[in-house]
């Protein structure tokens, strides 16, 4: 049986990132918790990727709307800062979707925060020969790189 809390988690988790619309907030690890109390109030916890991420306000409004559309009028969306978000929370599905979208996903890390993969592969041709052009990209979470193989510039979702 699907409990209301499980169903709400699915509903809230379907909200997409307005800046990278192939990713849901569940993929990103931005959705932290969904609770429903005895009186039917729904509380959703989300966490910012970066302190100044302008997508957060949009995500917050979208989550509330999705939950209301699912029939729960009383909804509160909390922004929680601790523990701080990390790209290690991004799901494998999220990493795959990013790659297909043309953005190199963040590289996985072990517990000691060491990268398990040295190179950033080109999401277009798969070449391991890529260089960083700029540390900061079109959104706070991305850097700009270029592939030496196919010469295409691309965005890399920075490990954070």
């Amino acid at each position: 049986m699907v409990t209301p809390a499980t169903e709400l988690r699915r509903v809230a988790g379907e909200v997409t990132d307005p800046e990278i619309p192939v990713l849901t907030i569940e993929d990103l690890g931005v959705l932290r918790d969904v609770r429903i109390n005895g009186s039917g109030r729904v509380e959703v916890d989300i966490t910012p990727t970066y302190s100044g991420c302008p997508a957060l306000d949009v995500i917050r409004a979208d989550v509330a709307q999705h939950v209301r559309d699912a029939g729960f009028a009383d909804v509160v969306v909390n922004v929680v800062l601790s523990p701080a978000w990390t790209t290690d929370w991004m799901s494998d599905a999220g990493r795959r979707k990013l790659q297909e979208y043309g953005i190199a996903p963040p590289r996985p890390r072990d517990d000691g925060m060491r990268l398990l993969q040295v190179v950033v592969e080109c999401p277009v041709c798969g070449s391991a020969h890529t260089n960083e052009i700029a540390h900061f990209g079109s959104t706070p979470c991305q850097a700009l790189r270029r592939c030496s193989g196919c010469a295409e510039p691309f965005q890399h979702f920075k490990e954070h």
């Binding site: 970066y50 302190s51 800062l81 601790s82 701080a84 700029a134 540390h135 990209g137 079109s138 706070p140």
Partner: protein, 254 residues
């Protein structure tokens, strides 16, 4: 907890918030004017991080000072004398070297501050700091890369970097000042001891300057007053521009 103690924590949080907001605005002034497109994007990205940090810190300040003021009230409806940011962040952008040196000196200070604050007894400040330190690592790395490139670059870039360093160095003393507010928050383990922050900052900055073939200026004149609301002349002009919209249209919202 006494009323005085609560006030000190609020003032401390406000100092952190004002530092972030003012530097964020200075960096945003580079928008469309940076030397390259990538740099334009980088400086405004850093500005955005700092703005986000400022917003979280103003929200915490409003809880600590008990006024419940909104972020906009802190940013747009206070006068110059009410701002308690350090003088370093309000200095004009100058040429690109001045901006790079300011970023190096301030980001190194902010990194040590956030690292220590991550262990604060104030859980909310600790959470903000743990989030912010990851961002500041990028800011410092960016400033370090430019410092190395320009300091150890051409004769002209080296000259400009050394000159920027001489110009801004005096303002760094204020970052580590102690007063009744810092004494109180350090005693309650809300904040790190400024002396410890200074030691870590000194080591980090000295290493980068050495590698960039830049000379650490001698410590002499040390302007102060920012933490008490006494600012340098350029700050009033910056504030007038930053607050213009809210002053002209009270209560304006996006």
């Amino acid at each position: 907890m006494t009323a005085v103690a609560a006030d000190a924590a609020a003032v401390y949080a406000l100092r952190l918030a004002d530092d972030c907001l003012v530097l964020s605005h200075r960096l945003a002034q580079w928008s469309s004017r940076a030397p390259t497109l990538e740099e334009d994007v980088a400086l405004t990205n850093v500005a955005l991080d700092l703005l986000g940090q400022a917003r979280a810190l103003y929200a915490r300040t409003a809880e600590l000072d008990g006024t419940g003021r909104s972020e906009d009230e802190y940013a747009f409806l206070r006068d110059e004398r009410d701002f308690v940011n350090c003088l370093l962040v309000e200095q004009e952008n100058g040429d690109f070297a001045v901006t790079v040196v300011r970023q190096l000196l301030f980001s190194a200070y902010q990194r040590e501050t956030w690292r220590a604050l991550g262990m604060s007894t104030d859980a909310q400040l600790a959470a903000i700091a743990a989030r912010a330190v990851k961002e500041v690592n990028y800011h410092l790395d960016h400033a370090t890369q430019w410092t190395l490139r320009l300091g150890d670059g051409t004769g002209e870039s080296h000259r400009r970097m050394q000159s920027a360093l001489e110009e801004l160095w005096p303002y760094t003393a204020e970052l580590f000042e102690t007063d009744a507010v810092t004494d109180d928050v350090v005693a309650r383990r809300i904040a790190a001891d400024p002396h410890e922050v200074r030691a870590a900052w000194d080591a980090s900055v000295a290493q980068t300057l050495r590698a960039a073939t830049l000379e650490r200026p001698a410590t002499g004149w040390a302007p102060t007053g920012g933490r008490q609301g006494l600012h340098t002349e350029c700050f009033g002009y910056m504030l007038a521009e930053m607050q213009h919209l809210h002053r002209a249209h009270p209560g304006a919202r996006w």
